[in-house]
């Protein structure tokens, strides 16, 4: 027998109102926790992939789209640009590295990206099995691609046109898997990398077959000679912050678009932020309602238990002791809400992660407790204590004799 046992017995004695208060508290904490987790993980994923890329060069269009497609590989590319012009523009003392990217095909929804070794080095990815692609039609695949698409060293496959997996297959030419990357927790995990020239080879080959036999030789010849080499975009790293000037120059004086990831991603997070803030506000409101529910149910039960309190006081209990016992009831609900909320938010994240993985090949699976969540615990405890303290203060005003004589 102790105060905690009495508090717990009191909560159990009113299962429905305890359940309601606990449920509201749990719901509020679940939402806040889930938001914190999602925010943190998205932020981490986004900043890990954007690290070291100061500018993306691509076709005119939406700068955000260019960045989403070229850095995160989650939106459609904006279109192609001539390699020659891209190289000319990036031949600038302000620019340290420029990594060409060419995409448009996929295999089982995993993107096939034509690039060079610099791209691999940029993400500090290492080859786990086999080797890095060297020749045309050789590919090195990300760890998740190997796992989900079931590709092994030496396997061959043909890519399909488009990024959604429903495109027409380039059946005649087959890629060969020559290497598999170690998991790097970056965008490389979900990509199939091949030399730039592979992508050109595939599409030339493909076009050839679309022409009639007679004209074939001549057309093909022209194509080889005149068609300018095209890429989708170029990832650029500046030598120093003054490189920003290059971006302005490109946007003003060329047909290409130079997008700055730092700015665009901030813009994206600002947009998302409105939604996140609204949800967070909602969660705080739910937690406050949980507090009110604790208040109302304790207030009501205290009216019923007035005699009990007077009885315990007459049996030698201190007023502060009983006050503490009532606080404990609010505190217990808060703590239960916090623990269950924490568990539920992890379950929610897991579900969300499964969807995100299916749709975007992004996985969010860091389940550790965030520092902000201790703050949430503090707020929950505060709400529980205040909600319990307001009605419990009546203990200090209680007239024992009068209350006992009333019945």
């Amino acid at each position: 027998m102790n105060l905690f046992k009495i508090s717990w017995a009191n909560l159990k004695d009113k299962p429905l109102s305890s359940f309601l208060s606990g449920l509201l508290m749990t719901l509020g904490i679940t939402i806040i926790s889930l938001l914190l987790l999602l925010n943190k993980q998205l932020d981490e994923q986004f900043s890990r992939n954007v690290k070291g890329i100061d500018m993306v060069l691509g076709a005119k269009g939406s700068p955000l789209q260019l960045i989403l497609s070229s850095i995160y590989q989650i939106d459609s590319p904006t279109g192609n640009i001539p390699l020659e012009e891209a190289e000319r523009l990036t031949r600038n003392p302000m620019i340290k590295t420029a990594i060409p990217l060419s995409m448009g095909d996929s295999y089982k929804t995993f993107r096939i990206v034509g690039t060079n070794k610099k791209y691999v080095d940029h993400f500090e990815a290492t080859v786990g099995q086999g080797a890095l692609f060297q020749k045309d039609l050789e590919v090195t695949i990300g760890a998740r691609v190997a796992e989900i698409a079931g590709l092994k060293l030496g396997d061959t496959f043909s890519g399909s046109h488009g990024l959604d997996g429903n495109g027409e297959a380039h059946a005649e030419t087959k890629y060969k898997v020559v290497g598999i990357f170690n998991p790097s927790n970056s965008v490389i995990d979900q990509l199939i990398l091949t030399p730039l020239s592979s992508v050109w080879a595939i599409h030339e080959h493909h076009e050839e077959h679309e022409h009639d036999g007679e004209e074939h030789a001549e057309e093909d010849h022209d194509h080889e000679a005149e068609a300018p080499r095209e890429i989708t975009s170029m990832l650029v790293k500046f030598r120093n912050p003054m490189g920003m000037m290059v971006a302005r120059g490109i946007n003003d004086n060329s047909k290409l678009l130079a997008a700055l990831p730092a700015i665009e991603i901030n813009r994206l997070f600002d947009l998302l932020g409105i939604g996140v803030d609204t949800l967070r506000g909602l969660a705080v409101a739910i937690m406050l309602i949980a507090g009110i529910s604790v208040f109302v149910s304790l207030y009501n039960s205290l009216k019923e238990r007035k005699y009990e309190m007077a009885l315990m006081l007459s049996m030698g209990a201190g007023r502060t002791q009983l006050f503490g016992m009532l606080l404990l009831e609010g505190l217990t609900l808060s703590l239960i809400g916090f623990v269950v909320g924490l568990v539920l938010s992890r379950v929610g994240l897991l579900l969300f992660s499964m969807r995100a993985e299916r749709n975007f090949h992004y996985s969010l699976n860091n389940m550790s407790i965030l520092p902000e969540e201790w703050l949430v615990l503090g707020v929950a405890v505060l709400i529980g204590i205040v909600a319990a303290a307001l009605p419990a203060l009546g203990i200090y005003r209680m007239n024992i004799s009068q209350t006992l004589a009333e019945e």
């Binding site: 009495i6 030698g316 209990a317 004799s401 004589a405 019945e407």
Partner: protein
């Protein structure tokens, strides 16, 4: 032993009470009889120092309760006084056993389950120890109150209309048990009532 001396109390200038002196030795029983409105409950609360008297003193085992600082009265009461109320009241969320142990706990005594079981057996509710109190009959509940009042072996037992809501059979049983229990621990028993059925049970009586 309990002794009161010239106790007076006023709820308002027009509603005031002056009580006759009461003296009750160890193992003795005193019946205080009075109609309603004569201040029976007020007197009992004064004796237990749930109310502070306007004038006069209450002495229990050589300690003058009116001289104790308010913070100490609760502790003193818990250790030396067992109270039985008109309607048996308990902490409803707790089992019968826990309600008995609560008396030990609140008086900061070791929680004596053996004594609780012995009392339950003796007072005839041993089968109900794990039940909630509201699952028992009035008579049973009143017997649990008696057990709770004697858990700490107090020097004084005060009973406020302990039989008024009981039928004749239960009334006789409760009074018998009350006397038996207080004699067993050598306590002074003071019963305040308007219940005429108790008149013949007590030799020492005070009429208000």
């Amino acid at each position: 032993m309990l002794q009161s001396h010239q106790l007076t109390f006023a709820y308002s200038p027009t509603k005031r009470f002056a009580f006759p002196d009461i003296r009750c030795n160890d193992s003795e029983a005193v019946l205080i009889l009075g109609k309603s409105g004569t201040g029976k409950t007020t007197l009992l609360h004064l004796l237990a120092l749930l109310l502070r008297p306007e004038k006069g003193s209450v002495t229990i085992d050589q300690t003058d309760l009116t001289q104790l600082p308010p913070a100490k009265t609760a502790t003193f009461r818990a250790a030396h006084v067992g109270i039985i109320y008109q309607k048996p009241h308990f902490v409803s969320a707790l089992s019968v056993m826990d309600n008995l142990l609560l008396a030990n706990y609140l008086a900061k005594n070791p929680q004596d389950k053996t004594r609780a079981r012995e009392l339950a057996t003796h007072l005839g509710f041993a089968d109900h120890l794990n039940k909630k109190t509201h699952q028992m009959s009035q008579g049973e509940q009143q017997r649990v109150s008696i057990a709770r009042a004697v858990m700490n072996k107090p020097g004084v037992i005060l009973a406020d209309e302990p039989t008024s809501s009981l039928d004749d059979v239960n009334c006789a049983r409760v009074v018998a048990l009350l006397r038996e229990q207080s004699e067993q621990i050598g306590a002074s028993l003071i019963v305040v009532t308007h219940d005429q059925r108790l008149k013949d049970e007590f030799s020492k009586q005070v009429i208000l």
